[in-house]
């Protein structure tokens, strides 16, 4: 793999960029791999990357129905934070956040991780108590957060309206090292690194069946033929239920559509990421200048990657109350993604009833921030055949035991 650098840019510029090589190969599948991952989204690619990097398993195929990074990885609002309440959540999200900090250098691909700071507004007394609690928990978990007063909120984000007529801003939970990254670049960076390790990313290839023998996985049947493996990872977000059915088990997952929108670009007016959970809306400004706005989910199960307009209305109303200046900005584009939600709104990284088959799903509305940590933990789980420390709390067993990982107290909406 040729290294990306300023020198390479200059060299190529002088010959009209004729020498750039492919970022990743587009091979035909081999007959057999040591490990196969279904789903070339951020989580799938990160899992493959850490399988190779941390565990030396490089004979790996990543199979993708569409195009890599084309699902929720390329559709989210790119927020990265780890200010979670429960130990198991804080651990995996903070792992992810810390990996993001060095990901550009690690992958030799600028994923534009921008620790611009994330604040979650407290707009009721109850929220203040909830976020104070999170700040205390984070302090003990080694996650740097603090509860800030309205004056500091205004200083960090001058366009915010503190004394809105409906829900005044009473303070905020502030994570200075949270932020955003360029979502596509995360997928592309991992893909390039995986390809460079010799892994095969097979796009436009749909898994039609999961092959089993004596309760163990032996391979997958795809639109490009049968691929054998004894180590299978299913990492397909909204389509998890469908793949699980092929593997012969069921998941406590519902697939719903989550919507987002961007405004037309404007010059920088907001440096931080703001989430307002009482009124349900969150916003940041991308490097292009667009206000990136996230909204709610449709209540109902939905595989269409689009949603109902009233959710956009509700989100926009909430944000105009919070940031009155945006009223005259224009919505450029709205879209949706199919997210997979579990009963306790926390993810699943787990062994499954099918031996050799592992599942990583249930990230719901907040998977992007977790990508490196999720891949790290899933790779460890697949390499060792048993849940890693980071993953152990997220097993399927927790539902049977009643060991829910409920973050709802930390965020009314858990993105």
């Amino acid at each position: 793999m040729r290294k990306y650098s300023v020198a390479a840019i200059v060299r190529e510029a002088l010959r009209y960029n004729a020498g750039w090589e492919r970022a990743w190969r587009s091979p035909e599948p081999k007959k057999q791999y040591d490990a196969v991952i279904i789903g070339a989204g951020g989580h799938g690619l990160a899992t493959a990357y850490y399988l190779g990097k941390n565990h030396g398993i490089k004979n790996v195929a990543i199979i993708e129905k569409g195009w890599l990074g084309g699902g929720n990885t390329g559709r989210n609002t790119t927020i990265i934070r780890s200010n979670y309440l429960q130990d198991s959540s804080a651990a995996i999200y903070e792992k992810a956040r810390s990996l993001y900090e060095t990901l550009s250098q690690e992958l030799n691909y600028n994923v534009m991780f921008s620790p611009r700071g994330v604040m979650m507004l407290a707009q009721t007394e109850h929220e203040i108590r909830g976020y104070r609690r999170t700040a205390h928990a984070n302090n003990l978990q080694g996650v740097e957060t603090e509860f800030i007063d309205p004056k500091t909120v205004k200083k960090l984000c001058p366009i915010i309206e503190l004394s809105g007529p409906r829900f005044p801003v009473l303070g905020a939970l502030w994570q200075p090292r949270g932020g955003t990254a360029r979502h596509d670049a995360v997928a592309w960076g991992y893909a390039r690194a995986c390809s460079d390790m010799g892994m095969d990313i097979i796009q436009k290839c749909e898994v039609t069946d999961i092959l089993k023998s004596n309760g163990k996985v032996v391979g997958v049947e795809t639109t490009k033929g049968v691929i054998k493996t004894h180590n299978l990872g299913i990492i397909v977000a909204g389509n998890s239920s469908i793949l699980a059915e092929k593997a012969g088990f069921r998941l406590p997952i519902e697939s719903v559509s989550l919507q987002a929108l961007v405004s037309e670009p404007v010059k920088p007016c907001m440096d931080v990421v703001v989430m307002a959970n009482t009124v349900h809306g969150y916003m940041s400004q991308s490097d292009k200048g667009e206000m990136v706005i996230g909204g709610g989910t449709d209540g109902f199960n939905n595989y269409t990657q689009r949603g109902s307009f009233h959710h956009i209305e509700e989100t926009v109303r909430a944000l105009i109350e919070t940031f009155p200046i945006i009223s005259r900005l224009k919505m450029l584009r709205q879209w949706g993604g199919v997210v997979d939600v579990t009963g306790d709104r926390s993810p699943i990284i787990s062994k499954t009833p099918l031996e050799g088959c592992f599942i990583n799903c249930g990230w719901g509305t907040g998977g992007f921030k977790a990508i490196p940590g999720s891949g790290w933990a899933m790779a460890e789980t697949m390499a060792n055949g048993s849940p890693s420390q980071l993953a152990s709390a997220f097993s399927l067993d927790r539902f049977r035991e009643g060991r829910f990982i409920d973050e709802s107290v930390a965020a009314g909406v858990a993105h």
């Binding site: 389509n239 997952i253 109902f300 199960n301 307009f309 009233h310 539902f399 049977r400």
Partner: protein
Amino acid sequence: MLLINCPFCKERNETEFVYGGPVGVDRPDPNAVADQEWVDFLTLVPNPTGPVFEKWWHARGCGEWFVICRDTVTHEILESPDEKS
């Protein structure tokens, strides 16, 4: 914005309704099932691509709970409850 057929109020916008989830299995006798069976009842609901029976509540209307069959890919409503008065 789905149009949902309430048995009393006929076609109304989705915003008048609250979604009640897909129709799962019947509630088992709690004293006769093992933990796993109970948890399956609580957490495993149909999540297919294609038709699914699901509950809706006309919360901002007549208050009726009813079941429709909707395609989760096309949103076609394949079955609605009979009209009531």
